[in-house]
Each structure stands twice: as structure tokens, then as C-alpha cells.
């Protein structure tokens, strides 16, 4: 069963446990209907996100990646989202270089109480990704692929 069955695209969400994951829960409790494309990965903090996770997702065929965390200054771990913001801004600048439309990636802040806001974030991002269509496959064996692939391989200890 693939997501692309029907008209869905592959959208991955990386959400912090304390604000945005809870905000997505709040949206659920409020029964705020959303598009079904998004699949959420739960993380302790957006500061946990290595930007290479997102590159890896795109290399493997994700059509869109959404990151969401606590509002700035409201981080459960004081400053994790500030680190995230810097890293993700850098990633944004990098994406066109590796051939990914920057519109396929978005990061945002949604608090645990903002169920309505979460719904609108999901709806508008899904719409944005649908406008871009499905992600062209990364050409395997190209120099770009060879450069990036080792960086996003699982590590063996």
C-alpha cells in the first residue's frame, strides 16, 4: 500500500513532542479535518533534527517535508528550536542547489493549543506540495547522488 495510491503525495512531518505533536493531537481532538497525505515522525525537539534527515527524505522520494516545533522562546528545552531555525534556514538555501524546489520544504511553529493553526498549516502546505506535483526521482549514480548518499547512510558502530 503506497501513499501514491489515489491522489496522495508523500509528505513527511518532523514534529517536536511538546508543542507541535501535541498541537496535532489538539487538532485531532477538535476533529479538524485535514488532507491525509502527511505522515508524522515524533521527535523530542526540533533541535534533534539533523537537516540530512530531510535531504534523505527527498532523496528517497518524499514530495514534501514539513518541520514544526515550539514557538521561539517557548521551547521545552529552552533553546532547541533556535538551533533548529538556524540549521533549517541553511538547509533552505541548500535545497535548490541539490535540485529540490524549496517550496517542498517548510518549517513552522505551532503550540500545543493551536489545533486550528495546525489544520491550516497542514492544509496549505499540502496544497503547496500538490501544486508542485510529485518529486522527480534523484538520478542514482549521478555525481550529486554520490556526494550526498554517504552523508545520509545509516551509521554502523
Amino acid at each position: 500500500m503506497s501513499v501514491t495510491e489515489g491522489k496522495e503525495l508523500r509528505i513527511i512531518g518532523f514534529l517536536c513532542n511538546w508543542c507541535s505533536y501535541a498541537g496535532a493531537d489538539t487538532a485531532g481532538v477538535g476533529r479538524f479535518a485535514q488532507p491525509t497525505d502527511l505522515r508524522i515522525v515524533r521527535l523530542p525537539c526540533t533541535g534533534r533534527i539533523n537537516p540530512l534527515f530531510i535531504v534523505r527524505a527527498f532523496m528517497n522520494g518524499a514530495d514534501g517535508v514539513l518541520v514544526s516545533g515550539c514557538h521561539p522562546r517557548d521551547c521545552h528545552y529552552s533553546e532547541g528550536n533556535f538551533y533548529a531555525r538556524r540549521r533549517l534556514e541553511t538547509l533552505k538555501a541548500l535545497l535548490p542547489v541539490i535540485g529540490v524546489d524549496p517550496g517542498r520544504f517548510e518549517y513552522t511553529w505551532v503550540s500545543a493549543s493551536e489545533g486550528q493553526r495546525w489544520r491550516s498549516v497542514v492544509a496549505s502546505f499540502t496544497e503547496q506540495v500538490h501544486a508542485l506535483g510529485s518529486m522527480p526521482r534523484f538520478m542514482s549514480g549521478t555525481s550529486l547522488d554520490l556526494c550526498l548518499r554517504p552523508a545520509v547512510q545509516p551509521r554502523v558502530f
Binding site: 491525509t36 505522515r39 528517497n60 538551533y83 540549521r87 500545543a112 493549543s113
Partner: protein
């Protein structure tokens, strides 16, 4: 690894829009899944028994439950695993209720999504490790922030339970909003008579340290070991020497200082004791009004003080307190009604807030309990009360109901009649909301026994007319316009989050809602907890509350703090970072990014290496993302685990 998958129906909550049987069937195709089934209620006793049984029958090493959010029942199922003899961390949850069945309409799409979430969980579980919790020492002390009635109750209950309590209050005296009230509903008993003894108990309790005129400056640490820095603001009086005799206030020449305690009705002196029952009963100087502090001359108070307690050179002082738990009880502030042009926007002196009216009613207020118009000091006869000022109004961003204004307005109409039998009260209301013991009876009494005229409708304008005010409004029950000439207009202003609530929430690392009220752990099942372990909520800081609810919540927060600190040690969360020494190059990046100072550089066989202090690490994973070598790995959220989830979705 043998993995078992349990897909919960949650009655019809999930099964209504997800084909749970198909999800379970799909799960059997995933790697290392040896058993998959659907269950009516996985969290129920038979549901958990089914999991325990399957663990035995199929020799499962790990379990995935696809049901509600892990924020709800992760702990429940982890205990189930422990009962069956598995490590509690060999468990993953797929959230197919909040994130699937409740938000998606299309059953086929929902079922696909649910199956994929299960796939992600399975792939992560395959890489889970058996983690063991450690233990750490805790400080058996609690800090209560805010000395209103909720904070006082929390402090007293904790102190009676044997904990050392530090009570921090921003104002010069504890007592909060309740100390400003004249009487309380629905019993009409005197507010200071029931609050006063509790305030005195706080002052006299051997386990309570009170910091009045103080604010929380910074908070670090974590449950069991918070370090809170408190800023003790300069009172310009040595409180150890001050006896509270009041000689200074009597001699102070700066007699036109705005009176905060009396809601700026009436004036006070630059050095004052806010009210007769103040705890601590100490004088403090308003630096903006003091002639000595603004112009350099005067010092009358220093000359008369019998104990020589005046210190014009006093500075703010920082004290750090180590506590195991924190109770936030910072209360609320009143809505600023000047946003409403139709009520005069603050231009009319005789349009006042209900709290100002309360000070007029109070025997210890500026008029000694005689109701007088602020403009000319005349006794009013016709008084109009307007309800829902700053409540239930989307246009000004206050869509919520404050909840207690209907009741206090009814109380004020009763007190008005008691004070002035010839007076007539009119109340413009939207709905009367009086759910509570004896509450509705009380509002009926205001109407029937005390003759308050209740008019269902809003006021469109207040206009001055011959020294009185013409109040124009609608009576929606009779379907006509009404005009009432009033001597005094009292606005039932709603509650809003206390000034600085957001900043405090950020210091405490707790969440707050769009209006600034602190967010509880769960709206029903964790009403006094927050998402930050060891931080509890009491009173109106969590949402507007009347006195009985605030007291009850203060007691509830104290019970939570007492049960947390009843142990000598707390179990540490093993979901913390760890460093593989063989890969670490000792660059120190992790040490510089760690928000908690949980990483120290050590020397290992002559090489610099990073080392995690596990009891300090909070498990955010910022170091893991910063490590160029992948040597620092957050346990339970390692790079490999997260990439496995990504791969499960994309490949």
C-alpha cells in the same frame, strides 16, 4: 526480533473511519512482525491482558500498539510490557486516532495512512534498545509562585505536609485579588475575614519562606532539582527592622500617589503599607512617587521611623533557591475596558470597573465602605451594571467566558441594596451563567429579593447628561430599545492572563494558550500538571476561576507536589544522550550547544572526549544533531531509528 502489532478500534473512534482489520493484516507483511491483531479497546483490562498473553504465546520481544496519541497511553502500555516481563522501551505507538481517524474523512486513505504509521513504528521498534532507568536525588522543597488564594492554599498544604515552601509574591503583600474583595458570593461572607487567617498562617508557618515584592528572574534545572533565581525588588525599607507601625506613611508628604491596591480609586502616600491586613506587614516605597528618590530631598520617613529601617540606597537582590517542584499560581489580570469606545473608553470618571466598585464597597477602601461617585463624591441612586465586558467577544480577541462575572455582579447588586436601600440596580446581561452550588439561587435572590432589574441585551452607548449618564441599550427579550439614566456605571470586566504570564511560562518551559493562560497537561485528566515534569498549576493562571475552584486547585497542586516529593529519589529517564567514545573526536561542539550543561569534556587515554552527565541530560537531542561524527546519540531517538522511519515511508 519477534514483533506483535495491536490495532485498536477505540470503539468507533478509530474503527469508524479506519479499517483496523486491514491494518492488522497489512502489518503481518512488515519485517519481523510475527503477530498482528485488532482489539476493541487495547487500553482496557481485557485489551492489556490480550497483549500480555500474546507476548507469552508468540515470544514477542517488542510490541507496537496502533491507537491514540502516545501522549495519552504510552505509559499505560509500557507498564503492560513490564508486567509481561519485557523492557518498557521495547514499545512503540502509532497514533492512528488523533492523527488519522479523527482528522481524515476518506476511509481508504485513512487505512493506508494508518498502515504506514504502523510500518514506521515497526521499523523504529526494530532498532530500539532495552533501556534501564537510573535514580537521582531530589530537593524536598517546593516553590509557589504567586500568593493569591490559590498559591496560599498550595503553600499551606505543602508546608503542612512537611515540605519546605518558598512563596514568591510580586506585590508587597500576599492575598491577591481576593484581598481586594469586600464580600464573596454566594454566602456574602467577608472576604478578608476568611482570607486573613490563611494569610497569617503563611506568615507564621515554620516551613514557609515568604518573598514578597519579588519576582522569578530565571529558572534552570529540572524536576527534583530546579534552581530558581528570585529577584527581591528594592522596598527601600529594611524589612527585618520594619515593625509595620505606619509612622512613615503618616508623615510622608507625597500624598498624591496612585493607589494600586485600591485600583487607583483614591490616593495614598509614597511610602505605605498597602492595606491593614497586609502580610508581610511592612512598608515599601513607591520609587516613582518618593520625593527623596526622585528629587533627592525629603527623607521625612527616615526621620520618624522608630527603628531606622529606611534604606534609600537599597538595591534589588538576587537569591537562588533549590526546589524539587514548582507551583505556578500567578492568577489573572482584569481586562482593560478602555478598548470599548461605547463605554466611554475611560473618559467618564463614573464608569468604573467592578473591582473598583468592590473597593468602594469595602470598609477598608478609600471611602470606608460608603458608595460614592468618583467624580463628585455624591451617593449614587441608579446604578447600571454591564456584564461581559471583555468576555465572550471575538472582536477584541476575548471569545472565552470569564465565568465568575455573573456571580460577582449579582453579589454587587445585593450589596448595593444593603448599603443604600433607596438605590436601584440595572444589569445588562447576555446570559446568566451560574453553575455552582447555590449559585443560581443566589442570582435569583438578587433579582427577586433585592429587586435588581435584569435586562437581557447589550449597551450601545453611554453618554453624559446633566451630571448623570444616559445608558442606551437593547432589551432583546422585549425587542425594544431602552434608555436608563444612571449615576454610576459598573463594568463587569473579564479576566485575562496576568501581566508577564508569557515570560514566566517561557522561564518555566511550560506552554500557554493563545490568551496567555498556562496549558495543563491534559484538559480533563491532568488539570494541575503541565507538560514539564515537576511544574504544577493552581488557580486562574490556568484559566479564569472563582475562589472555591482556585482553592481546590491549590490543594490539588499541593497534593501533586507532595506525592512527587514523597520519594527520596526519582527515576531518571533513560531516553538521554550517550557518546560512543570510539567515534568521538573531542571537538566539543556538543558541549557548546547543550542547553543544560549536561556535557563535560573528559580525557580518555590522553584524548579529549565528550561525556554526558546522565542525570542532567533532558533528552532534547540538540547534541546529536550537532555531532559531526554521529558519536553523540540520543537514546530511543537515534539517527538510525529516525532514518528507519523515513525509509519506511519513502522507499
Amino acid at each position: 526480533m519477534n514483533i506483535g502489532v495491536f490495532v485498536c478500534h477505540c470503539g468507533s473512534n478509530i474503527a469508524g473511519t479506519v479499517d483496523t482489520e486491514a491494518v492488522a493484516k497489512a502489518a503481518l507483511e512488515y519485517r519481523e512482525v510475527v503477530f498482528a491483531t485488532d482489539a476493541m479497546y487495547a487500553c482496557s483490562e481485557p485489551g492489556q491482558a490480550g497483549i500480555v498473553e500474546a507476548i507469552g504465546t508468540y515470544a514477542l520481544d517488542g510490541v507496537v500498539v496502533a491507537s491514540c496519541t502516545p501522549r495519552m497511553h504510552e505509559a499505560t502500555f509500557r507498564r503492560t510490557l513490564e508486567r509481561a516481563g519485557l523492557n518498557r522501551y521495547m514499545f512503540e505507538m502509532a497514533n492512528i486516532r488523533e492523527h488519522v481517524s479523527w482528522v481524515g474523512k476518506d476511509k481508504a486513505a485513512n487505512t493506508r495512512k494508518a498502515a504506514e504509521l504502523v510500518h514506521m513504528a515497526v521499523e523504529k521498534l526494530r532498532r530500539n534498545e532495552r533501556l534501564q532507568a537510573g535514580e537521582f536525588d531530589i530537593a524536598k522543597r517546593v516553590m509557589v509562585i504567586g500568593g493569591g488564594v490559590a498559591g496560599i492554599q498550595a503553600a499551606l498544604d505543602c508546608a503542612d505536609g512537611g515540605l519546605e515552601v518558598v512563596l514568591v509574591e510580586r506585590e508587597p503583600s500576599i492575598g491577591g485579588k481576593m484581598s481586594k474583595l469586600d464580600k464573596t458570593f454566594p454566602t456574602v461572607d467577608c472576604s478578608s475575614c476568611i482570607l486573613g487567617p490563611k494569610m497569617v498562617d503563611v506568615a507564621q508557618h515554620p516551613n514557609i519562606t515568604l518573598y514578597a515584592l519579588s519576582e522569578v528572574d530565571s529558572v534552570d534545572g529540572f524536576v527534583g532539582n530546579f534552581n530558581v533565581t528570585v529577584r527581591r525588588k528594592a522596598a527601600y525599607v529594611d524589612w527585618d527592622a520594619c515593625t509595620g507601625c505606619g509612622e512613615c506613611a503618616a508623615k510622608c508628604p507625597s500624598k498624591k500617589t496612585p493607589d494600586r491596591f485600591n485600583e487607583f480609586i483614591g490616593l495614598t502616600t509614597a511610602i505605605n503599607i498597602p492595606f491593614p491586613q497586609a502580610i508581610p506587614k511592612k512598608a515599601s516605597i513607591n520609587a516613582n512617587a518618593c520625593i527623596k528618590l526622585t528629587k533627592g530631598k525629603c527623607g521625612a520617613c527616615a526621620k520618624v521611623c522608630p527603628t531606622g529601617a529606611i534604606r534609600f540606597d537599597q538595591k534589588d537582590e538576587l537569591v537562588t533557591e533549590k526546589v524539587g517542584a514548582i507551583i505556578a499560581a500567578t492568577g489573572y489580570d482584569l481586562f482593560d475596558f478602555t478598548k470599548y469606545g461605547e463605554y466611554g473608553g475611560g473618559r467618564y470618571p463614573d464608569v468604573i470597573t467592578a473591582m473598583q466598585y468592590e473597593r468602594l464597597l469595602s470598609a477598608s477602601g478609600p471611602t470606608e465602605g460608603h458608595i460614592r461617585r468618583p467624580s463628585d463624591g455624591a451617593e449614587p441612586r441608579d446604578i447600571v451594571f454591564i456584564q461581559c465586558v471583555g468576555s465572550r467577544d471575538k472582536s477584541i480577541g476575548r471569545p472565552y467566558c470569564t465565568g465568575f462575572c455573573c456571580m460577582y455582579t449579582a453579589k454587587q447588586t445585593i450589596l448595593t441594596k444593603d448599603h443604600m436601600p433607596d438605590s436601584q440596580s440595572y444589569v445588562f446581561y447576555m446570559d446568566i451563567r451560574s453553575p455552582g452550588k447555590n449559585y443560581d439561587e443566589f442570582t435569583r435572590r438578587a433579582m427577586e429579593e433585592y429587586g435588581a432589574k435584569y435586562i437581557r441585551g447589550r449597551v450601545s452607548a453611554i453618554q453624559p447628561k446633566n451630571g448623570r449618564y444616559l445608558v442606551k441599550g437593547a432589551d432583546t427579550l422585549l425587542g425594544r430599545q431602552v434608555e436608563i439614566e444612571a449615576d454610576l456605571v459598573v463594568l463587569a470586566v473579564g479576566a485575562e492572563a496576568a501581566r508577564g504570564a508569557g515570560e514566566l511560562a517561557e522561564k518555566l518551559r511550560i506552554s500557554y494558550d493563545p490568551y496567555g493562560f498556562f496549558l495543563e497537561g491534559h484538559p480533563k485528566l491532568k488539570p494541575v500538571e503541565t507538560n514539564t515534569a515537576g511544574v504544577y498549576l493552581a488557580g486562574s493562571c490556568q484559566g479564569p476561576k472563582d475562589i472555591p475552584s482556585s482553592v481546590a486547585q491549590g490543594g490539588a497542586a499541593a497534593a501533586k507536589a507532595l506525592s512527587l516529593l514523597s520519594k527520596d529519589k526519582l527515576a531518571s529517564d533513560p531516553q538521554v544522550s550517550g557518546v560512543k567514545l570510539a567515534r568521538c573526536i573531542g571537538c566539543g561542539k556538543c558541549e557548546s550547544v547543550c542547553p543544560f550543561g549536561a556535557i563535560e569534556m573528559i580525557e580518555f587515554r590522553g584524548m579529549p572526549k565528550a561525556s554526558i552527565i546522565e542525570t542532567v541530560c533532558q533528552g532534547c537531542g540538540v547534541c546529536t544533531a550537532a555531532c559531526p561524527q554521529g558519536a553523540a546519540q540520543l537514546r530511543h531517538f537515534t539517527d538510525n531509528q529516525i532514518l528507519a522511519e523515513v525509509n519506511a515511508l519513502c522507499l
